[in-house]
C-alpha cells in the first residue's frame, strides 16, 4: 500500500508526482503535502547583504515590513551587512529584532 509523492515548486507552479496507491490511509499525507505546498511555511528569512551598498530608512522599513509579515516565530538573519548598513540598523534598535551575522564565504 505504498504511496509516495515528490513535490517541485517553480515560480508558482506546484508539481506533485503521485506514485502508488492513494486510499484512506495515504490520503491524509497527501492533504498535508497540499497544505505545505500551498501555504506559507517560511521558517527563516536570510538576507545576504554583502553587496548591499546603501540602505536608507525606506530599506529599513522593508525589514520592519518583513518582520511584521513573518511574525515572531520566524528569524530574520542579515548576513554580511556593511558597517554603514549595520550602523543604520543598530541606531534604530532594529538589531533586537533580527540576527546579524558576519559575511559568508563565497
Amino acid at each position: 500500500m505504498s504511496f509516495t509523492t515528490k513535490v517541485h515548486t517553480d515560480d508558482g507552479v506546484v508539481t506533485i508526482r503521485l506514485t502508488g496507491e492513494l486510499d484512506s490511509r495515504s490520503a491524509p499525507s497527501l492533504n498535508e503535502i497540499i497544505v505545505e505546498a500551498t501555504e506559507s511555511t517560511v521558517r527563516r528569512l536570510v538576507l545576504l547583504a554583502e553587496d548591499l551598498t546603501y540602505m536608507s530608512s525606506a530599506g529599513l522599513r522593508c525589514l520592519v515590513f518583513a518582520h511584521q509579515k513573518l511574525g515572531r516565530g520566524v528569524d530574520i538573519v542579515l548576513v554580511g551587512a556593511t558597517p554603514e548598513v549595520a550602523e543604520t540598523i543598530r541606531l534604530t534598535g532594529f538589531d533586537r529584532s533580527l540576527v546579524m551575522q558576519g559575511a559568508t564565504e563565497r
Binding site: Y54, S56, R61, E84, G93, S97
Partner: protein
C-alpha cells in the same frame, strides 16, 4: 567657490537618487570626507529630499534645489523647497526608539538617521521657502588630503558646477 555643485529637481523625478548620490560623491571627494562620513551625508540628503517630495509636496511634485560646496573647514549641502514650513528638528523619534517601538511599522526613522549622521543641520523658512543646510566638518586629515588635490576625486560627479 571650490567644488560648488547645484541641482534642481521636481519632486518625484525618477533617477533623482542617482543624481543626488553623484552630487554628494563629488563634494565628498573634493572635500576629502572618508567613506563613512560621505555615506551619512548622502543618506541625510536622500532622506530630507525624499521627505520633501513625500510629505512636503505630498507626492504632487514641486521645486527642490540642491546646492553644495566644499569650504576649508566643512562640506555643506543646502536643500531648498517651496513646500509648507517644516523644521526637521521638530520631529523627535527618540521616545519611540527608547520604547523599542522603532519597528512598529510607522516609519519616522529617516530624519532620525539624517540628524544622527550629520555634524549639523540648520533649518530656516524665508521667503516662502524651507532652507535646510546639512553640514559635515572636514577633519584635519581630510583637509590635508584635499589640499593635495587628488585624493578622493570622484569622476562620477554630477550636477552643475
Amino acid at each position: 567657490m571650490a567644488g560648488h555643485h547645484r541641482l534642481t529637481l521636481r519632486g518625484g523625478e525618477a533617477g533623482a537618487g542617482r543624481r543626488l548620490a553623484d552630487l554628494v560623491a563629488a563634494l565628498a571627494g573634493t572635500g576629502g570626507l572618508d567613506a563613512r562620513r560621505s555615506y551619512w551625508l548622502r543618506l541625510a540628503v536622500d532622506e530630507i529630499t525624499t521627505n520633501i517630495g513625500q510629505h512636503g509636496y505630498r507626492g504632487q511634485g514641486g521645486l527642490v534645489e540642491i546646492e553644495g560646496a566644499v569650504e576649508p573647514d566643512r562640506v555643506w549641502v543646502r536643500i531648498t523647497d517651496e513646500a509648507p514650513p517644516f523644521d526637521p528638528h521638530s520631529h523627535d523619534p527618540g521616545p519611540r526608539l527608547a520604547d523599542g517601538v522603532a519597528h512598529d511599522g510607522e516609519g519616522g526613522l529617516g530624519l532620525y538617521l539624517a540628524l544622527n549622521g550629520l555634524d549639523r543641520l540648520d533649518h530656516t523658512y524665508v521667503d516662502g521657502r524651507n532652507v535646510n543646510t546639512l553640514v559635515m566638518e572636514r577633519h584635519v586629515g581630510e583637509v590635508q588630503d584635499t589640499d593635495g588635490g587628488t585624493h578622493g576625486g570622484d569622476d562620477r560627479a554630477g550636477g552643475g558646477g
